[in-house]
């Protein structure tokens, strides 16, 4: 048997409840949660879709660590296995958090600085030209990185900082070989990239193993710094008006 402690409750109020589930070889946390749902607690709220770590729906905090329930094997965990919703976000019910901020944020990015191809785009791109962008395209929007980032989790700066996942999205836009948009001032003013102080917690939890900080955030921060804080360039800009 496997012991689970599942957070049950609504809008932040609630408590952990204990359940026992028979062990099966290769079992993952989501198997346990769905077992509990179908046998004991029909109304246990949980999000999932693919059950194969591809859709990013089943994010939760497992024994305190933001993880995908469908890919976390129970045999690697100490019991009872504590499962609770993503804590950075407002709570809805049981294991479901209100992540609607994600969609609003993505849409804002698209409206502000979405992909616009260059006028002379040839669409001839080599594998090596798109290699960087493809790393960022692996993002399944699971929100684990957003949940763990202290800027959002502790400081709740959801209205000032787009968070690691959407910096990854921005990095894809930035590295697209056919793109024509200048996002530097947007990254500083609207995305709040300077709030990130490179703790790398986001990179540690990313199930797609995207090098969020090293490959997405740091190069963009450097470009922002180049434009805004490099004294020679600043002088140049003053003179040329660019």
């Amino acid at each position: 048997m496997v012991k689970f402690l599942i957070f049950r409750g609504e809008r932040g109020e609630g408590a952990f409840k204990e359940y026992e589930v028979p062990y099966q070889e290769g079992m993952v946390v989501l198997d346990g949660v769905l077992y509990i749902q179908s046998r004991f607690e029909g109304d246990l709220s949980v999000r999932w879709n693919c059950k194969a770590a591809k859709c990013g729906s089943c994010a939760a905090e497992i024994n305190g660590k933001p993880s995908l329930m469908c890919k976390t094997r129970v045999e690697h965990l100490s019991q009872p296995i504590k499962v609770e919703p993503l804590r950075a976000y407002p709570h809805i019910k049981d294991l479901v958090a209100d992540t609607s901020w994600n969609l609003r944020t993505r849409r804002k990015i698209i409206k502000d600085v979405g992909f616009k191809p260059r006028k002379d785009a040839s669409w001839i791109m080599k594998d090596e030209d798109i290699e960087k962008g493809r790393e960022f395209r692996k993002c399944i929007e699971c929100a684990l990185c957003l949940d763990v980032c202290h800027v959002l989790r502790e400081h709740q700066l959801f209205d000032k900082f787009v968070g690691p996942a959407y910096l990854v999205f921005s990095a894809y836009l930035e590295t697209h070989p056919m793109d024509s948009v200048d996002r530097i001032s947007w990254l500083k003013e609207e995305a709040g990239i300077m709030y990130c102080n490179i703790t790398k917690c986001c990179t540690e939890v990313c199930p797609e193993e995207i090098h969020i900080t090293d490959n997405a955030i740091i190069p963009m921060k450097e470009r922002v710094a180049d434009r805004y804080f490099d004294p020679i360039k600043m002088l140049f800009r003053k003179i040329t008006g660019k």
């Binding site: 079992m27 749902q37 029909g42 949980v46 999000r47 194969a52 890919k71 409206k111 798109i130």
Partner: protein
Amino acid sequence: METIETYELDVLIVGAGGAGLRAGIEAAKEGVKVGVVCKSLLGKAHTVMAEGGIAAALSNTDPQDNWKEHFRDTMYGGKFLNDWRFALKHAQLAPECVKELEEWGALFDRTPDGKILQRAFGGHSWRRLAHVGDRTGLEMIRTLQDKLLSFDNVDVFQECSIIHLFKDGEKIAGALGYWRETGRFVLFKAKAVVLATGGLGKIYKITSNSWEYTGSGYALALLAGAELRDMEFIQFHPTGMVWPPGIQGILVTEAVRGEGGRLYNAKGERFMQRYDPERLELSTRDLVARAIYTEIKEGRGTEHGGVYLDVSHLPAEVVKKKLPGMYKQFLEFAGVDITKQPMEVAPTMHYTMGGVRVEPDTQMSKVPGLFAVGEVASGLHGANRLGGNSLSDLLVFGKLGGKAAAEYAKTIKTPLVIDKGEIEKVVKEALKPFEEKDGISPYEIHEELKETMQNFVGIFREEKELKKALEKINELKEKAKRVKVTGNIMFNPAWHLALDLKFMLLCAEAITLCAIERKNSIGAHARIDYPNPPEEKYNHFIWLEDGEMKIRREPTPEPPDELKALLKEPPSRKWEKK
């Protein structure tokens, strides 16, 4: 009754997979007010899971390829039960639809000279599938969703389920749904409704499909007066995972075979040599699935009841580059390193070839204003779908359907009326499971349905088993009337399932009825008691009359002579011979 939250739209799109998103984009371009509703969060629809690629005769990898070749392959794959008008449009328009994705930001794998690279797939005569490693669906859904979100005249309603369609006279007038989060009802008044709800895999036990695939689109269409076609053709994908038990049925993409993967039984025989010596592993899915099933059934299966699929003869870097998702999936879930060890696989229920009958130019059903696109629609795939032809289907017919729906909406000038009494009735009915005193758990009914379909309406079928299934389905329909849920109405999965049961049972009935009526074997439909192909090609159509399901057959339309001429030579692995 308290007033219901109401939205007024020109076009309501039910579903945000590839088909719904593509339709939404095209409708939005027409300048009308568009709403897109989906049961999960945006971007989590089934399309995100598609792996192998999008079939389109771009002619990058093999310049000899063209739409005629694609048309021929699709017709052969479907055993000529396809409506040729869909197959024609699909083959002709797929390449430009893929290029559109690129122009909206998609990053496909490249040829050495910088174009979109294409890979081989079963039943395709040329290397034809545009792809992104083995996560093509993710790239496609992100590209489409981002394009859709760039329009100001589009609203997205996520985690909202549609349970009823309204008509004003003959014409569609809107839909009723509920927010999953709060359980509150929401009314969409709409001049046109596009169903893009995907498939119905959740009525089977072993399936590659997610919980969302409850067949609500098929059922909503039937209940609104539309017809379904050929529901007996259920595609069992040859290769699903068999172990560990928790992920039984999860897909192993055909790209594994496209990249050179080989199938062996437990005795080490490359058994496809016996079933299709010409095309081997890249034969059509119906054939490979039956071959694997037969090997297992006749005692040549592996430890966990599958066969071996092996890529260990390929260089490890190639496997990791072209099949990174599969590499990870097996390593993480099964502890198998596929660059060194074989995978264990067995057939898994995967796709529904049948679906809502629509017109090929507009995707409109018999009901004015009701459209269907994507997996929920039918016509293109005939008796068996070729891999990669679904993603292209979503693009081509999503685009056509979205445009036609917007154009139709513009022609509706007088306000449509939705009957208040009907709304109240639907709401009351939907809340009934909370009032049942000693009813039955929805999970229990669902479990029984899955067992029934899996055991009696599977890969090989037989009259007495099919009849047993029908009996059981009728029994479950009775049980479903007494379905009971506990807890409150907020984000209550038991309640959501209870509401879906009605849809699932209607789908199960339609499939079983068609399977009983088709007393021959063709494509994905294999009857043990009637192993021969039909003498004449025909399609099934299903509709409801006073709540009772009716079925009739119509001869499959014949293509005109100039297209028939294209169908002379059967498909083969032409790229290997060039």
